[in-house]
Symmetry: C2
């Protein structure tokens, strides 16, 4: 669990801390350190206790505060942000090791960003994309797969995607298990459906690349019904979700990035919440009584009328509950494993691929990196290539040495953008799977049968316990927008209760 | 988590305690109670620390002791036995709420039973079995499905079972992911394969009944490769596994029962281990150093050279490990959910179905109970019907009131054995899904993709940590025989290390 320790320390200790936490927060943290006992004196009673200072938990806390109620946020780590994490690349620039994109129809995260006076910029998207298959490189001029994708792929992909989009329109977002074909669709894997609807190994290769980046998993691990739900969720109340919006930059979920990095979002939220956010406070036990709830960390107990648990489902499942949760809820958390995802980032003097007419976006059926983006800072003064390593590729690579991991990732970059990619100024890879408080990324991946029998327990409160986190969202499940939506919903529930 | 509390208390406090724990052990426990401080004085150092006093953990401890090494077993509950639990039905008789059958090729559990001088008797199996479908009752004279099963079912079932048995012969038990067709078989659910190989809704209904009883899950939740592994594992080194042995009484896994109940097995083992078994000691944290391992409970720390974790995988996954486990192991335990299983038992003055020429065995496509057995004590002086409620049926029923659960289960018994079944002397249902230290039963159920990418982490030690439990066994995985085998293997590993 600690092979990310070095990277984390660097990020926290370095100049990035100021960017990630907000300099006022850092100053406050420093000030607090010598007075260890003061913590005991802090109020340990609030209307609502929130577990987890990721985007969902911070949003919930913010909403509760806005409504004039008191709140305490308990965070296991020494930082806020959960699956959001800035990384300093020097020269005043940052890149992101976790969630980084925002896009069309993601109104809730975009609204929050505006409120926090944080700026967006367009993801670099000028030039040709690369499709790499079987050792050969093809270029295409639009985002995969509905545009002018290479002839090797396009017709089949277009047909399959259209069909999936069409099927997804019959999946009710708040209850996918009630879709007319729910039983059939939740009895098979995405792989089974793809295989029955496509003959080409090329297409299966691209499908794997897509699910590795989107879910950190292979098509064989994912229920077809869950896939259709995920597609349908990639929109908002007036724009039905589509697979393309899930995958694309222009007009899609990857359309924009954040000036200063996404780390600014939780940092500013935490700054506003001040000492209501308690770091280094992993929750071990939640005890409900008729009148309230007590949330225990190793050392202290916090009392509230309600609690919002805003952690990834496998983390929520590791807390002890008294009385125990319903059988359905407990077994649901046994069935929401996190995907397997690493991010590899290489920093260069310049975004050299731009001069060659490339967007920096590649999709490939050869790993370990199968999907890339241009992750350079807004002014393009230095170049950053970012690659997703997900699913089987992540599980294989995690067993290799750090040097082998780096060499393999850079070889992928070189396959797409030439040998120049092999000599970065800096290379960083972040493995979300070994993070104790995440246990994987980007999202819980549901196998066949889970939605059908356990789906109704995803958001259903258990007495005074409410559930937040992007996995509980009906829209943009798995994305920052879903996390914000879930925090808003859970806060409203807790305040109404 | 505590709707089984009443039943458990009864079992522990009542006369069953003597049967379940061995009277010497009970006397010892009573003696110990007033001297709470004495516990601190007990040795907290041993060559090997074992976590979990189920059959696997107790077997490991026994083996270690036999080899002249010291051992301490830490058990979370106030009883030993894990998924094995006797229940007193009065008149000196017991029935079992958990594991109960032993059978052909289960040499390791049978050998242990002989060593403990415990007696077996044949599962009652004289007369006609019942097949209930669509509100109609058919009888057949042999065990399903290879015998003279009803014409409505037999030809199709026989073909499918033969094919599955055949396919299973190519699955290496110690590495199912290396089977020639592993990728294809671990990319689809059992449901997908059944549907592609059978057109009849009757057969699909019986398939569900079978997987609900065997796995506590539906065919849609189970990887085809895992199913084939499970079939292949239903044998020993000289008799390849077959589906029939998994499901049958005569000549199968359900051939025999235990005089005095299976609870005698862990009770006698614990008795021999004496105060080496520490009850009420849930393990929270395992810390490895270069020279040893420290196992923490809430109050005490135990030191050993090695530790054997012999709990169900989702329980093992809830322990904190320092240093953290490998990514593969941690994510594996996120992907080994326990099945959903309840047992319903009705006690009657007499086994009245025997007089009507029935074995007491039924299989049905109508729930909640879809598979039954005659669970009467050896002399048949009182009658006990036992029914499995698994998979979707368990998940639905668990949300009903106790009265509704009882009425529904007795209606199932009445469907098969007549209205007399509706008026038992006693009714007990045990829900393994709400048991905090099991979180489900009878076994971890693997969805597609898990064996392929994570299988190699199932038994692989993590430094000084060794893994036991029936889920780690190559033979009779999910059965008591597998638990015993796993304990033997883990003990050998720990002693060799």
């Amino acid at each position: 669990m600690d092979d990310n320790r070095f990277t984390r320390r660097t990020a926290i200790a370095g100049a990035a801390a100021a960017a990630a936490l907000g300099s006022a927060q850092v100053a406050e943290a420093k000030k607090r350190k010598p007075h260890k006992h003061r913590r005991r004196a802090l109020t340990r009673r609030a209307d609502v206790i929130v577990v987890g200072a990721g985007l969902a938990g911070l949003t919930a806390a913010r909403e509760i505060l806005f409504k004039g109620k008191s709140v305490i946020v308990l965070e296991a780590r020494g930082r806020v942000g959960g699956r959001i994490l800035n990384h300093d690349i020097g020269g005043g620039h940052v890149t992101e090791l976790g969630a980084e994109f925002v896009g069309a129809t993601q109104d809730h995260i975009n609204g929050l960003i505006d409120q926090l006076k944080i700026e967006r910029f367009d993801t670099y998207d000028t030039g040709q994309n690369i499709y790499y298959t079987n050792g050969s490189k093809f270029t295409f001029s639009d985002t995969l797969p509905t545009g002018a994708a290479p002839v090797q792929l396009a017709p089949e992909a277009a047909v399959a995607i259209t069909q999936l989009d069409q099927m997804s329109t019959s999946v009710p977002l708040d209850a996918p298990w009630t879709a007319p074909n729910a039983a059939e669709w939740d009895s098979q894997t995405l792989y089974t459906w793809l295989k029955n609807n496509s003959a080409s190994p090329q297409f299966m290769g691209v499908a794997s690349a897509a699910t590795e980046a989107i879910f950190g998993a292979e098509p064989r691990e994912i229920s077809l019904l869950f896939t259709l739900f995920y597609i349908a969720a990639s929109g908002n109340e007036s724009n039905p979700g589509t697979f393309e919006r899930n995958f694309n930059t222009r007009g899609g979920g990857q359309a924009q990035r954040i000036v200063g990095g996404t780390g600014l979002i939780p940092a500013r939220m935490a700054q506003a919440l001040g000492r209501r956010v308690r770091l280094h406070s992993p929750v071990t036990r939640i005890v409900q009584t008729r009148t309230g709830v007590t949330v225990h960390t190793d050392k202290l107990a916090y009392h509230g009328k309600r609690v919002i648990v805003a952690t990834p489902p496998p983390i929520a499942g590791r807390i002890s509950y008294e009385p125990g949760l319903s059988a359905l809820r407990d077994q649901l958390t046994q069935r929401m494993p996190m995907g397997s995802l690493m991010k590899a980032e290489a920093v260069y003097d310049k975004p050299f691929w731009r001069d060659q007419g490339y967007t920096g976006q590649a999709i490939s059926d050869v790993g370990p990196v199968k999907v890339t983006f241009d992750n350079s800072p807004p002014d393009g003064s230095v170049g950053v290539l970012m690659g997703f390593i997900g699913g089987t590729e992540a599980r294989r690579l995690t067993q290799k040495s750090a040097a082998d991991q780096q060499a393999a990732a850079l070889q992928s970059f070189a396959n797409y953008f030439g040998d120049q990619a092999k000599s970065p100024k800096e290379f960083v890879r972040f493995n979300w799977t070994t993070e104790r408080w995440n246990r994987g990324c980007p999202v819980s991946v549901l196998a066949p049968g889970t939605l059908l029998d356990f789906g109704e327990a995803i958001r259903r409160p258990e007495g005074r316990i409410h559930w937040a986190g992007t996995e509980t969202s009906t829209y943009w499940n798995g994305y920052m927008d879903g996390a914000v939506r879930s925090g808003e919903r859970a806060a409203a529930e807790a305040l109404a209760g």
